[in-house]
Symmetry: C2
Subunit: 87 residues, 2 copies
C-alpha cells in the first residue's frame, strides 16, 4: 500500500516511525480505550510489516519458520518450558 | 502457545520483552544476516501478538478494521496521500 514511499524512506527512517507508534501503543495500553488500543496495535503492525518489506523479509514466512512447529524451546503448541526460561 | 505465562506476566512485563526484541531487531537490521533478520522479525511479531492477546485485542481484526479498506488517509490500496503526510 505504501511500498514506494517506504522504500524511499529506507529502513532507518521507517524504524523511527515504528518507534513513534510503539510509544503511542504504550500510552494506549496504559490509559487508552479498547478502540485506541486496537488502533495503535494496527499501526505498530503496519509499520513492522513495512520495515520487513523494505528489508526483504516475508513476515508470514518468518513467523511460520520460527513458530510454525510450536514453541522453539519445547516443541509444544502450548509451551511447557520452565518458567525460568525466556518466554 | 504462551497464554498462561503471558497473562501471569501482564501487559507491562510483556512490553519489556517486546522492547528487548525490538532492540535485537534494530541490531539485526543494522548488521545482521537475512536469517537473523527473519528471526528477529518473528520474535517481535510474536511478542506484539502476545501483548495484544493479554490486552484483549484481536490483531487480525485490528489491522483489518484500520487498513482493510486501503489507506485510512486517501482510501486507495496504493496510497496517494501527499508525501508531507504521515505515511
Amino acid at each position: 500500500m505504501y511500498y514506494e514511499k517506504d522504500a524511499a524512506r529506507g529502513v532507518d527512517g521507517t524504524f523511527m516511525w515504528l518507534m513513534e507508534e510503539m510509544g503511542e501503543l504504550a500510552s494506549a495500553l496504559r490509559d487508552g480505550t479498547h478502540e485506541e488500543r486496537r488502533e495503535e496495535f494496527a499501526d505498530v503492525l503496519a509499520w513492522l510489516t513495512t520495515i520487513a518489506n523494505v528489508a526483504g523479509v516475508d513476515l508470514t514466512e518468518a513467523i511460520s519458520h520460527k513458530y510454525g512447529q510450536g514453541c522453539p524451546g519445547c516443541g509444544q503448541l502450548t509451551c511447557t518450558c520452565s518458567d525460568e526460561g525466556k518466554p
